[in-house]
């Protein structure tokens, strides 16, 4: 039996999920909570946000995010892949920075425009 706080809406229902009973969820006030409780314990996923070095821009770092949620277990592997990246201007919003992260098909994309800026 695992206790979880649902994060789908601000209610924050305290859920109980029974792994031994097909991940049955109790304590939820709405069906979204039931889905969250089940997925969170079976195949939890996360969108990962981080930043990569960039040359020639107004800042030394360009923010990135995954374009969809990845399995939670791959967070560190995904971030490790980012360490291989070094961008140069120009970078466009949504530009793919790493394709197919850890074979998931998901990509890291840039989350802002960065143009050439003189210091």
């Amino acid at each position: 039996m695992t206790e979880l706080i649902c994060i789908v809406c601000p209610c924050g229902c305290h859920l109980l999920v029974d792994e031994k009973d097909g991940y049955k969820v109790t304590g939820n006030d709405c069906p979204r909570g039931e889905i969250y409780g089940r997925i969170e314990l079976t195949t939890p996923t996360r969108v990962i946000t981080s930043s990569v070095p960039i040359d020639g821009a107004i800042h030394r770092r360009c923010p990135v995010k995954t374009d969809c949620a990845l399995p939670k277990s791959l967070i560190f592997d995904a971030v490790r892949q980012l360490k291989e990246v070094e961008l140069t201007v120009p970078v466009h919003m949504g530009q793919v920075v790493i394709q197919n992260i850890c074979g998931t098909g998901a990509s890291f994309i840039a989350t802002r425009e960065m143009r050439w800026e003189s210091i």
């Binding site: 930043s51 070095p53 030394r60 770092r61 560190f76 971030v79 490790r80 360490k83 291989e84 070094e86």
Partner: protein, 511 residues
């Protein structure tokens, strides 16, 4: 012809090589080596730099004023507190007069606010009467005893049950680290050499005087040594002389309140003095804040931590002077160490049995006030010991610092037109510009850390305590010094701020 030229060239090279080696080995003979560049060392260097003397100052920290000088009440005391006839009393009164003059000449922020010593209970009345008598004996003309009503008229936020007060109009407040820095800079501009990060590890008596070795290997000789090493004065003394006194560090803890509290009082407000010192005061600072403190407790070593008990104690006593004090408006707490010696008075004398070694030790309160007078006394000691003091014809005795926030609109407009760096505000809380920070890098004692910049221009001293400006100041320092930001310290050399560059291809390590 060619052989002669080669021989001359050879001689020149040889002399150059010797001089270079002598300098490299540091075998230069100074007339005076001053150890310590706090307020006393700086004042002494400044005073001595008036004369044709070869002077070196050795300071163990990476900047001047890093000991008690940057962590005290910042008061120029009127002089009613020390025992009449003591060295402290004479030098306090002389120092007060000199202090305001020097601050004006060297552009050091200062304000003659006046001071009140409050009598809160019946017993206190007798005490302020004693202080009044002492003040008169010490030569202060204009102190007065006033009634509780008069005190409240002057300072409406005082404890309404105040019975009376001693009023000293000639007391004031100063920026103590800027005061030390101004005197040190002026000394350097007048030919004094300043060696920072040069802790003295040995002093050997020689025929000419003393051989002094600093950490890192620098060796030099000096005819005389002046010991202005604050809480380490006894250690320095004992390197060259028979032990004669001990120094016990006594810690004082403070609150610094936001500028919104800066007008709670407009004068320095004391309560009755205690055995350990002048007790807890509430005072405006020269920067517009309010300072509350200090506590008083003996500590081991260089313990400048602030404690919960210490702050609670300060709060409790301070509320007796100013009941409406809002300590929730604190922006910073700090502590400094007083150099309490086992003798009652300042130790300003040649060491017994060691000719040429002079102590300026046990300089607790009113040390900041007395500093220029202590320097005069040191000069006199040197003169009596036989050093020839010939005044320089051209002594640089002025200093000007550009302070953007103090200029009027017209002046600001012109300044930025002349140099756009003054148009880039770096410290929001105190309105400090990039131009002013760059100015510090062109002085004779440029800053080596974020706190060094803070002490020179106040960037980081405001209510956000560097939250906004520290990345910007860091960026300016790294650009100017041409080093990686990871090498710029917060204060002393090993107080690193940033660990590493995120922009390098190393995978995160999962500890």
């Amino acid at each position: 012809m060619r052989a002669k030229q080669i021989r001359s060239l050879g001689c020149v090279c040889f002399v150059f090589f010797v001089l270079n080696s002598l300098t490299k080995w540091g075998i230069v003979v100074f007339d005076t080596a001053i150890i310590g560049c706090g307020i006393v060392g700086a004042a002494t260097a400044y005073e001595l730099s008036r004369y044709h003397l070869n002077i070196a100052v050795f300071e163990k920290a990476n900047d001047v004023a890093c000991g008690a000088t940057k962590a005290n009440s910042a008061i120029i005391h009127a002089g009613y507190d020390p025992e009449p006839g003591s060295i402290m009393a004479a030098l306090n009164v002389r120092g007060t007069k000199l202090a305001f003059d020097i601050c004006k000449k060297l552009d050091v922020p200062h304000k003659k606010t006046g001071a009140l010593v409050l009598a809160i209970c019946e017993e206190d009345i007798g005490i302020i009467e004693i202080l009044y008598d002492r003040g008169k004996q010490n030569g202060i003309q204009d102190i007065q005893l006033i009634s509780g009503c008069q005190a409240l008229e002057m300072e409406p936020n005082l404890n309404p049950s105040v019975l009376g007060a001693l009023y000293a109009p000639n007391a004031g407040v100063v920026s103590p680290w800027e005061y030390a820095l101004a005197m040190a800079e002026t000394a350097v501009r007048n030919g004094v050499t300043l060696h920072l990060e040069s802790e003295i590890v040995s002093i050997q008596k020689t025929k000419a005087g003393f051989q002094i070795t600093a950490k890192g290997g620098m060796v030099c000789e000096a005819r005389t040594v002046i010991n202005a090493a604050g809480i380490h004065a006894a250690d320095i003394h004992n390197l060259a002389c028979e032990p004669a006194y001990t120094i016990r560090p006594n810690r004082g803890q403070y609150y610094l309140l936001d500028k919104s509290q800066g007008t709670q009082v407009s004068r320095v407000i004391f309560q009755r003095p205690t055995i350990e010192g002048k007790g807890v005061l509430v005072a405006p600072t020269v920067h517009g804040n309010l300072i509350v403190g200090p506590s008083s407790e003996y500590v081991d070593g260089e313990n400048i931590a602030v404690t919960r008990e210490g702050l609670i104690g300060v709060a409790h006593i301070a509320h007796k002077s100013v009941p409406g004090l809002n300590l929730r408006e604190s922006i910073r707490n700090f502590a400094g160490l007083r150099a309490f010696s086992d003798l009652d008075d300042f130790i300003i004398a040649e060491a017994d049995g060691t000719h040429g070694f002079f102590d300026l030790a046990g300089i607790k309160s009113p040390g900041l006030t007395a500093a220029p007078a202590i320097a005069e006394a040191a000069v006199e000691l040197l003169r009596q010991s036989g050093l020839v003091l010939e005044e320089k014809e051209h002594f640089i005795d002025t200093r000007r610092v550009v302070r953007f926030r103090e200029l009027d609109v017209e002046q600001k407009i012109l300044l930025i037109k002349a140099n756009p760096a003054y148009g880039r505000v770096i410290c929001r809380c105190e309105t400090i510009t990039e131009g002013e920070i760059l100015d510090t890098l062109h002085t004779v004692i440029p800053p080596r850390s974020l706190d060094g910049v803070k002490r020179r221009v106040n960037a980081g001293m405001g209510r956000c305590q560097g939250g906004f400006c520290s990345p910007k100041v860091l960026e300016i320092l790294t650009r100017a010094l041409g080093v990686s930001p990871t090498l710029v310290p917060q204060d002393q050399a090993d107080s690193w701020i940033l660990t590493e560059n995120c922009n390098k291809k190393v995978p995160p390590c999962m500890i």
